[in-house]
């Protein structure tokens, strides 16, 4: 049996052809069969899952019409999302054995909807990376080719959906950590507008950039998960109180009459030819559906990467100061307090985290603050202004999600070449605007993603364009070897 979408499973649960327990059995069996190759999970939450499956069965029996479409359906959570009493490591040694005393709001909303948790997924340490090779618990295999990376940092969440173990998962996106792995594994990945989804209980990386979002196999499923978790939360002071537009209401409206912009800087020389061809073919599909495509310019694209690699490390160096061996996490005992801090952090953090903490501390240090951090904050304004101007001219931006397809593990050992992975995703984080990646083709059997970006709070518009494209193509329906082999 091929993996089914949320929509299909919700129908099957209601017509009695399956039960939450059956679905969980199948998901766990699939994880058991594939984990040796994929390493997508840091924890499998069997006990929690069966408790939730039984509760969901009850809700579906009593209230089949009012139960959430997510009720009784298995899912997985990136290991940066806190769940009360369940090991949460953020892919770091320093948090080995950490059991949060509360559950994050986005996750609690899924649990309230009757979701069934299969496990916590592997990721780059503290969500820092673009390949999931920075996890302290080993890399994740890409289900299309396990010698290649699944992208990152939410690589485990992307891989488990692409492998067909679960129909959806949650990730977090600070510079592309949902969209880029979605592109590299051939699934849908969505980063909502900054402030749309509460980050309460999300282990912080860079607080002015972080957003939680879903991985799914279709845009419609993405809309369903988004509606379950979006909306104001008093526990996150950056959470926006505005009402959430239901993307399902406009999902089928199509793109006829819409103006779509192609930023010329996003198809530059760093873009692999196969990716460029696939994305240009996608533009023609959108045109055939009645959209008007035009070239636009975002001239600060090449400096946006520099802005990001000042601001994100600066914020991370501050956020990660809390890992001091006192209140939670591991500790290396030393007689003096300073030595205890130094050794705890020196042993507990991996290379990429140390690199970013060093870079951020340097950028914020006396004598360099103005030249680096303040200058980056000003250029960030320019990046936002350019998006604002372009998005007055066009309704949405369409472009590649990643300049490359999935690359072999170990092939990008130079930090700068890894940072380049995010060159077309991180500008949307700097501007706080929504972006989605939807499958748009293959190069030598490896998936390519089309990115759609829209103005702030136009999350529904992003999904509308992506859905129109998806319905006209069948790339999203193609299955990785791990999914097509699913029993």
């Amino acid at each position: 049996m091929t993996p089914r979408t949320i929509t299909e499973l919700a129908a099957a649960l209601r017509d009695g052809t399956t039960t939450p327990r059956t679905l969980l059995d199948a998901a766990l069996a699939h994880v058991d069969r594939t984990e040796q190759d994929l390493n997508a999970y840091l924890a499998v939450t069997r006990e929690l899952g069966y408790t939730q499956a039984d509760a969901a069965s009850h809700v579906l029996e009593e209230h089949p019409d009012t139960a959430s479409p997510l009720c009784g359906i298995p899912m997985a959570l990136k290991d940066v999302l806190c769940v009360d009493g369940i090991d949460t490591t953020a892919g770091s040694k320093i948090l080995r054995g950490f059991k949060p005393p509360y559950t994050s709001t986005a996750v609690q909303r899924l649990f309230d909807a009757g979701a069934v948790c299969v496990g916590k997924t592997n990721c780059d340490e503290f969500a820092m990376g673009s390949s999931t090779e920075n996890s302290a618990y080993g890399p994740v295999g890409n289900p299309w080719d396990i010698e290649r990376v699944p992208g990152g940092s939410s690589g485990g969440s992307a891989a488990t959906v692409a492998a067909g173990s679960v129909p959806y998962s949650l990730g977090s996106d600070t510079g592309g950590s949902i969209r880029q792995p979605a592109a590299l594994t051939g699934v849908v990945g969505f980063k909502p507008t900054y402030g749309r989804i509460s980050r309460y209980g999300l282990i912080a990386f860079a607080s002015s950039l972080d957003q939680i979002g879903p991985f799914t196999r279709t845009v419609e499923d993405c809309a369903l998960v988004y509606m379950a978790i979006a909306g104001h939360d008093p526990r996150d002071s950056t959470s926006d109180p505005r009402a959430v537009d239901d993307p399902l209401a406009s999902l089928h409206a199509g793109v006829a009459g819409m103006r779509l912009g192609i930023p010329r800087e996003y198809l530059g020389e760093g873009t692999e030819p196969g990716v460029r061809d696939a994305v240009q073919a996608a533009f023609r599909v959108l045109e055939a559906q009645g959209a008007t495509l035009q070239e636009v310019s975002l001239p600060s694209t090449d400096v946006a990467l520099s802005v990001y690699y000042i601001i994100a490390p600066a914020e991370c160096s501050s956020n990660l100061a809390r890992y001091d061996g006192v209140r939670f996490g591991s500790r290396v005992e030393r007689p003096s307090l300073t030595d205890m801090y130094l050794q705890t952090r020196g042993v507990g953090f991996g290379n990429e985290v140390k690199r970013r903490v060093m870079l951020g501390t340097y950028a914020l240090s006396s004598g360099y603050y103005d030249a680096y951090y303040r200058q980056a904050q000003k250029v960030r304004t320019l990046v936002s202004q350019e998006f604002e101007a372009v998005l007055k001219e066009v309704d949405a931006i369409v472009c590649p999600t990643s300049p490359s397809v999935a690359f072999p593990m170990g092939s990008r050992d130079d930090p700068l070449s890894m940072y380049m992975c995010d060159v077309v995703t991180l500008p949307a984080n700097l501007a706080g605007i929504p972006g989605i990646s939807v499958p748009c083709g293959f190069v030598d059997g490896l998936p390519v993603g089309l990115q759609v970006i829209a103005p702030r709070f136009e999350d529904a518009r992003v999904m509308r364009v992506a859905h129109a494209y998806e319905q006209a193509t069948d790339f999203h329906a193609q299955l990785s070897p791990y999914a097509s082999a699913a029993a």
Binding site: G97, F98, P101, Y102, Y194, G195, S208, S237, T238, D302, V303, S306, Y309, I310, S317, A321, D324, V326, R327, F328, G329, S330, R331, S336, L337, T338, D339, M340, Y341, L342, R345, G346, V347, F349, K354, R355, V357, M358, L359, T361, Y362, S365, A371, Y372, R374, Q375, A376, Q377, K378, V379, R380, T381, L382, S384, D414, P415, L416, Y419, L430, R456
Partner: protein, 100 residues
Amino acid sequence: MTLSRAEVDHVATLARLGLSDAEKDRLLGELEAILDHIARLQRVDTSTLAETAQVGDLVNVLRADVPEAPIGAAAALRNAPATDGSYFVVGAIQGTELDA
């Protein structure tokens, strides 16, 4: 752009990161390469631009001044490496060791 080994030492102390000499040597080269790339930021004319610290438009978000149930000492201490009753335990702070 040249970063000195002394600056790497200083920043590591500020960040409270215990690094081996080999790690510091490697970081020196890597950070230099990253800073060289980032240097293009200096060419942007920002004389008319304000700083962006956050992208939302919310200002001074406050909740009602109503007490809520606290998380409780037991839950707050559950993950601590060393505790004593309702306290976290740390080593003694000696002299001026935090003078970096």
